[in-house]
């Protein structure tokens, strides 16, 4: 295992920590669904499995692709839907 990957893990952890701590509490619910969407990145690994020529890999990969896609599509769409609701008073709302 490459030591570089551990460096990347730890640095990304620091970045995550600092960035998330600055997320405004107002948006904590959208944050949860945004990280959901981002967790769909396991799609990247799933695609390779589903697209390989081993049958077991195809089946495992197919389920994984489906699950991960649900997160990506659902997660981003619902985050958008929520964020769209956060509006500033246009004039005096109403």
């Amino acid at each position: 295992m490459q030591i570089e990957l551990i460096y990347i893990l730890i640095l990304a952890g620091f970045v995550g920590f600092e960035v998330i701590r600055k997320v405004t509490p107002t948006l904590h619910t959208p944050l949860m669904s945004a990280t959901n969407a981002i967790s769909g990145i396991s799609l990247v690994g799933s695609l390779v499995a589903a697209g390989s020529d081993h049958q077991t890999a195809q089946i495992l990969g197919f389920i994984a692709v489906t699950a991960a896609t649900i997160n990506v599509v659902g997660g981003f769409m619902i985050t958008e839907r929520m964020l769209k609701m956060f509006k500033k008073k246009e004039k005096k709302q109403s």
């Binding site: 990347i8 981002i38 589903a50 997160n71």
Partner: protein
């Protein structure tokens, strides 16, 4: 992996980070999400064109089905079902991680006998945490959507059994590091891990689920990062770390705001220290108030602060709250909303509901912002909130919530509390606020009462 794909993954990682940075303010949030979406698209396309794909059938089918389900969930799921939806997503994310791990194990292990110590370590970690997250999140989903009895399920020796299970699974993990090709142990470990996920969520009550969900978020992130190690993919490591950090921080914030020790939460032992409420009685005098009088009191005010809580969410009263706020606004009365970090049942719960009802986000003030100005508030309306405004947290050293930060509504000149009864809230403890001389109780379902009040204003 070729150089170009790596660059694409790098850019995707940066876009994810920028995406989350955008959430630091409602203004930049949507742009941030667009960055993250572009990042995801790049990562997917980068993978597809990387030349590793030989058959497309399964990919296309999977993406099609997944997109349909995801889109349907996003469009039709009501905002109030958000906690369930999030719990379910963690299960999906973790499931994908587990399956990729199993596939990697078969591929590298069974076919090619290339399981190095580092690789089996990564795969083992991935499936352990992944499997636990899958069932744990499904349990949380079940409890939240009332498919499973949401009350804590406890039995004798529960902790003991959980510890045994955990150490057995961990022992198998260690064993695999030395004998990676024993696939029976590998699959048994996964099975055990599924069991552990169920067992650790069993004793936790439905109302405590948000903490569980955040922890599962964190675990799912770790599983994804481990996947990154297993398949040497850096964008997975980075995205996983971001998710892990997010879940971790949200659970810290929640446990602090709920006055729970974080270790308690970390070890799954969130438990339920629900106090017996039956002893509480309406012995001490309270002051009731009716709709008309409430209107009269509000009309005299210059500055009104509304404190929403779980009851507002349950009653789905956010739109009616908005109407009330509009009525007050019309009369030149300033209206602000004071949002406690754990009001409701999910971090940011109140903000989403009020935003849904079209309330401007700059009217939503955080606890720290509003507290110092609380004594210049004329009327404070509490809508279905209880624990987050309980002054015992400040004054009563013997209270279980002593030390928890609260919204200091008791400093306002008049307090109007809308709830259905004298029943306790989530923490199950009595609230001295209700008996204070400047508090008036307005009993009834939040939505109904508010509708009547708005009607009164419109007369």
């Amino acid at each position: 992996m070729n150089y170009l794909t790596e660059i694409v993954y790098l850019i995707a990682s940066v876009l994810f980070i920028l995406g989350l940075k955008g959430l630091s303010h409602p203004e930049s949030a949507r742009r941030g999400m667009h960055f993250a979406e572009i990042g995801m698209l790049m990562a997917i396309v980068g993978t597809l064109v990387s030349g590793h794909i030989v058959t497309w059938t399964w990919i296309i089918t999977g993406v099609a089905i997944g997109s349909a389900i995801g889109a349907a969930m996003a469009i039709f799921m009501p905002m109030t079902a958000m906690p369930q939806r999030i719990a379910l997503s963690h299960a999906f994310g973790a499931l994908a991680a587990v399956l990729v791990g199993v596939n990697e194990y078969i591929e590298k292990g069974i076919y090619h006998q290339e399981l190095t110590t580092g690789l089996i370590g990564a795969i083992g970690f991935e499936v352990l945490f992944g499997a636990l997250t899958v069932t744990g999140s499904l349990m949380a989903f079940g409890k939240l959507s009332e498919l499973i009895k949401s009350a804590p399920i406890t039995y004798k020796g529960q902790n003991f059994i959980n510890i045994i299970l955990f150490f057995t699974a961990f022992g198998m993990f260690v064993y695999l590091i030395f004998f990676p090709y024993n696939s029976v142990i590998f699959y048994t470990m996964i099975g055990l891990s599924f069991l552990i996920g169920i067992f650790i969520v069993l004793p936790i009550g439905g109302a405590d689920m948000p903490v569980v969900i955040s922890l599962m978020n964190s675990y799912a992130g770790l599983a994804i990062a481990a996947t990154g190690f297993a398949i040497d993919n850096k964008v997975l490591i980075i995205a996983g770390s971001l998710d892990g950090a997010s879940g971790f921080i949200l659970s810290i914030i929640m446990s602090q705001a709920m006055n729970r020790s974080f270790t308690n939460v970390l070890f799954g032992a969130v438990g339920s220290s629900q106090v017996d409420v039956s002893a509480l009685a309406e012995e001490r005098p309270i002051t009731r108030v009716g709709i008309e009088d409430t209107k009269f009191i509000l009309e005299q005010a210059d500055r009104v602060v509304i404190v929403p809580g779980y009851g507002m969410a349950v009653a789905q009263a956010q739109h009616t709250v908005r109407e009330l706020s509009d009525e007050l606004d019309k009369r030149g009365i300033s209206v602000e909303f004071a949002i406690h970090p754990v009001a409701g049942r999910m971090p940011g719960h109140m903000n989403v509901l009020l935003a849904e009802a079209n309330i401007s986000y700059d009217q939503l003030l955080e606890m720290e912002t509003i507290n110092p100005t609380m004594d210049s508030v004329d009327v404070c309306i509490i809508i279905g909130a209880n624990d987050v405004v309980n002054p015992a947290a400040r004054t009563d050293k013997s209270s279980p919530i002593y030390g928890m930060p609260i919204i200091d509504v008791d400093k306002a000149k008049t307090v109007i509390v809308m709830k259905r009864s004298m029943a306790a809230g989530f923490a199950g403890i009595e609230n001295p606020l209700f008996y204070s001389p400047n508090t008036k109780m307005l009993f009834g379902d939040a939505k109904k009462v508010l509708q009547e009040l708005v009607a009164e204003f419109k007369k």
